[in-house]
């Protein structure tokens, strides 16, 4: 891990690892990838799920209105998971995102 590496040996790798450890990884669903410059994963700053939505919107204009209704609530057709747990079982949009957490945004799913 980054801790064992010195910045002098490979500064790019060192700082990339630092950023990875300090940020939150977000998996973007195929539906949003075109809007998000083709990326399937993004890194954002820790905060809450609401802060995440603000950060995404700042980077890619239009993302927020696709994920949220007019009241700013995440749509029923959108599911957000933090470390594999549905945020509706956590603190909804107030769910805390800590460094190293993983977020998945996916469309609601059908039966089987």
């Amino acid at each position: 891990m980054a801790r064992l590496r010195s910045p002098d040996a490979d500064p790019t790798r060192f700082y990339l690892d630092r950023i990875r450890a300090m940020s939150v990884r977000v998996t973007i669903p195929p539906t949003l990838r075109r809007l998000c410059g083709g990326e399937d994963q993004l890194r954002v700053q820790p905060g809450t799920v609401s802060d995440l939505l603000v950060q995404l919107q700042q980077r890619y204009n239009g993302v927020r209105e696709r994920l949220c209704d007019e009241q700013g609530q995440i749509r029923g057709s959108v599911l957000v998971f933090v470390n594999d747990e549905d945020i509706r079982f956590l603190r909804h949009q107030q769910t805390e995102l800590r460094p190293g957490d993983e977020v998945s945004i996916i469309p609601a799913f059908a039966g089987g």
Binding site: P29, L67, D84, G111
Partner: protein, 425 residues
């Protein structure tokens, strides 16, 4: 796309905002994540689909093919459907209702559940779109059907299931040579993983990217009910709910046949059934809400154990619009429902069928389905797949030596103790 390339379909259309998309392997609106649904050219369908044209065709679900989303002739599951609609007089007396029918998809071809309907549509469409590999997230029945139908069509199949499924359902997928992947989690977690896999691998996931086509296959159950009732819509229909999709599609089948003049306009009520151990939709219905709270399932009705039902919102709307109700039953009531159906009608349903019978019984007792009315119960899967759920609850074998004397002693003891003793009850 020309008419020959898309049959009677017009486009995929967002259920929320109405935006239209090409008829590709995609299931979500890019603007609001709303589910996409197939839109049809009803004017053209009206000209070719009549009672007479339907009756002239072979008895399978494809006799309604203009209302099913394939462009050309179906290539997978051509013998699926047209299961029996049984007039269930003995069960009607037990439940206290004038007229009762059982739509028996426990004997659907080839894998003994209604899922063969949705899979034959999804795979036929997958072949049209050029896919070679098909996949699904499943609580069991869908896995069985994808595995079997993919095998018969020469497609490669990956099925993802919760690791703790009933053994019958696991073996019923493995035997066809499908890759069966057990996920250490409940169905909602399996489904989430599949949504992520579907975003990465170019496969036809029948209930993810093929969902708009797949879901339409359920309508055939409703078309058959209407035809088998003598071209009429039942007053009451009781449907079990996992994601809630089947309930909404049965409703749609009644709407489409009315709109096309194939049946006379009449009013109908659609009631939803869930297990108490996983009742996000019926809990919301009973509380008068139009949204549900997700749950972590804990029920023997594993085929219905979806805690975050994708069509829950739409199922609630159908119940509300038609004046139907929702209710749920405990594990014991589910087993009781399975036994009632088996003892009265000779039909062995899986746990989901026990849910449907148990809830119908409740709704009739409450007067929500009036005693002087007529109802159809949708039985969606076969009891041989969920033996674990009823083992130890349906009596025991009585063993004797191959001796006439021992047999006669047994009969004599039954006569003394009443016939019920035979079954060990």
């Amino acid at each position: 796309m020309s008419q020959t390339q898309q049959g009677f379909m017009k486009a995929l259309k967002c259920r929320e905002c109405g935006r239209e998309y090409p008829l590709a392997a995609t299931h979500v609106c890019e603007f609001d994540f709303g589910p996409l649904e197939v839109a049809y050219d009803y004017e053209r369908i009206r000209k070719v689909l009549t009672r007479e044209s339907i009756q002239a065709r072979p008895q399978n679900m494809w006799r309604y093919r203009e209302l099913l989303p394939v462009a050309g002739e179906p290539t997978v599951g051509r013998q699926v459907g047209y299961t029996p609609l049984i007039k269930a007089d003995r069960l009607a007396r037990r439940l206290g209702i004038r007229e009762l029918w059982v739509k028996n998809d426990a004997v659907n071809y080839p894998t003994l559940s209604f899922k063969d309907r949705v899979v034959s549509v999804a795979l036929s469409r997958s072949v049209e779109l050029g896919f070679k590999t098909v996949a699904c997230a499943s609580t069991g029945n869908l896995a069985n059907s994808v595995a079997a139908n993919a095998a018969s069509a020469g497609l490669e199949a990956y099925v993802f299931i919760p690791h703790d499924l009933e053994q019958g359902k696991v073996i019923n997928s493995l035997v066809y040579g499908a890759r069966v992947i057990g996920i250490k989690g409940h169905y909602d977690e399996v489904n989430r993983l599949c949504a992520e896999i579907a975003g990465k691998y170019p496969w036809a996931f029948v209930n993810v990217n093929m969902r708009p086509y797949y879901a339409e296959g359920s309508k055939s159950m409703g078309f058959e009910i209407q035809e088998q009732l003598g071209w009429r819509i039942p007053e009451h229909t009781v449907v079990c709910m996992a994601s809630g999709s089947l309930l909404t599609k049965i409703h749609k089948s009644y709407q489409e046949f009315s709109k096309l003049g194939i049946v006379h306009e009449s009013s109908w009520k659609i009631h939803g059934a869930q297990a108490t151990g996983c009742n996000p939709i019926t809990m919301a219905q009973k509380a008068g809400l139009d949204f549900f709270k997700p749950q972590k399932p804990n029920t023997i009705a594993k085929s219905l154990a979806i805690g975050t039902p994708a069509d829950g919102f739409y199922a609630l709307r159908v119940m509300k619009e038609t004046g139907g109700h929702g209710d749920d039953v405990t594990d014991d009531e589910i087993r009781e429902g399975i036994r009632l159906l088996a003892e009265c009608e000779g039909v062995f349903a899986e746990t989901a069928g026990g849910v449907t019978v148990g809830v119908a019984r409740k709704l009739i007792a409450q007067g929500r389905i009036p005693a002087d009315s007529s109802a159809v119960l949708c039985i969606t899967g076969n009891g041989l797949k969920t033996l674990d759920a009823v083992a130890g609850h349906v009596g025991e074998t009585q063993e004797i030596r191959p001796s006439l004397r021992e047999f006669e002693a047994l009969i004599a003891s039954d006569r003394t103790h009443g016939a019920a003793a035979v079954a060990g009850r």
